[in-house]
Amino acid sequence: MAANQEEVKLLGVVGSPFVCRVQIALKLKGIEYKFLEENMKNKSELLLKYNPVHKKVPVLVHNEKPISESLVILEYIDETWKQDPILPTDPYQRALARFWSKFIDDKVVSAAWKAVFTVDEKEREKGVEESHEALEILENELKDKKFFGGDEFGFVDISAVFIAFWIPIVQEVAGLKLLTSQKFPKLYKWSQEFVTHPVIKEVLPPRDPLFAFFKELYENLAASK
């Protein structure tokens, strides 16, 4: 482990589910790193240097070489530090893991965001509908597995941290029912398993400040109408 451990930095913000994905991977593998907290309203020179294309977090910097995009970072971490693998070894299983992680990014995250943080009523309803559709698909994919990765959490579970921790917060803020035990019993059970997992719970940001942040965002949006 020592040879690969030279210098690992993570540029991020505390409330970001995408940053959290990376932190989970680093924690799982026992990789020490320096967390550089960014202010997205006042981006650092370092961030602009390391992610000139998107200027977003997370950015992982390993021995001065930057890697951007959370799912790309996860794969890099898995390939560089071999202990506690995140992706399966079988190519077909890997393809499935990549497919579902992409599905989460493309179909769940944006829909859930739209369901909560859009001013237009019609758009919001559309967001709720799309969220339910996407979560239904994941419910059916999970079946009776403890985690998407099987007995232990893997690539898809990490990608889905947004669902397990962030959706319950934002749905409460907006008074919506997106992820409930009635609608999606398997997914709900998974979310509880996941957020209480010893590795995961140490990495999740504190709930109350995050709730307050989203509540303020939501109320400002409603006021702007």
């Binding site: 294309v53 890697i67 794969e75 077909y92 393809a95 990549r98 599905f103």
Partner: protein, 232 residues
């Protein structure tokens, strides 16, 4: 090398299906190409890709793999003969995946919108986005290729496949709008790369002809316009 257990649900017009064909050709694999018209979508397609109902789908011994980037990586990991589609070094692999995603987000999105756009102001903005993306890709090419013909170096790699699969559609957009987007003056390295890519044996026979694609695009635009008019 008779490989009877590979089927590709594709379409001659689809840049995403083209990516998979290029990858299969690079690895020297035989496969059955099933041309989908998408009108209607075949039962096999609906069964194989229940989530998106989209092409391409690769069926390997009847196991479906969906999403072009996922399929290309699957091919590279399953058939490990040369050439490698992804680089061997982890950092370079991350770079390849980064640019592959960038192409889908920042190149394809304005390109698709341009196809549908009627408004001159909107078109101007979209051309601007495409030109910005090209500048970034030119820079990425110079860094990744290290003087060699492809993003992947001596042989076609992931970024080449992701980007090159759009070349015919780019010609269509240029033709429809009477203007060059990939300009040898502004993007000399990419202009050269585009020629080299199109001439590569893994690509040459399967690029759709610009005129045929132009006809297809015009018909598609009419279809969308009719649907939009009906919706009003």
């Amino acid at each position: 090398m008779a490989q009877t257990d590979l089927k590709l649900l594709g379409g001659w017009f689809s840049p995403f299906a083209l990516r998979v064909q290029i990858a299969l050709n690079l690895k020297g694999l035989d496969y059955e190409l099933i041309e989908e018209t998408l009108n209607p979508k075949s039962d096999l397609l609906l069964q194989s890709n229940p989530v998106y109902n989209k092409i391409p789908v690769l069926l390997h011994a009847d196991k479906p793999i969906c999403e072009s980037a996922v399929i290309v990586e699957y091919i590279d990991e399953t058939w490990t003969n040369a050439p490698s589609i992804l680089p061997s070094n982890a950092y370079d692999r991350a770079n390849a995946r980064f640019w592959s995603t960038y192409i889908d987000d920042k190149w394809f999105t304005p390109m698709k919108s341009l196809l549908m756009a009627e408004d001159d102001e909107a078109k101007k903005a979209l051309f601007g986005q495409m030109e910005e993306a090209l500048e970034r890709m030119e820079d990425a090419f110079n860094k990744a290729s290290e003087g060699k013909p492809f993003f992947g170096g001596d042989t076609i790699g992931l970024i080449d496949i992701a980007f090159g699969s759009f070349l015919s559609w780019l010609s269509v957009i240029e033709e429809m709008n009477g203007r060059k987007v990939l300009d040898v003056a502004k993007n000399p390295a990419l202009a050269q790369w585009a020629e080299t890519f199109a001439a590569d044996p893994a690509v040459k026979g399967i690029l759709p002809e610009t005129l045929k694609l132009l006809e297809f695009a015009n018909a598609l635009k009419l279809k969308w316009a009719a649907e939009a008019a009906k919706a009003k």
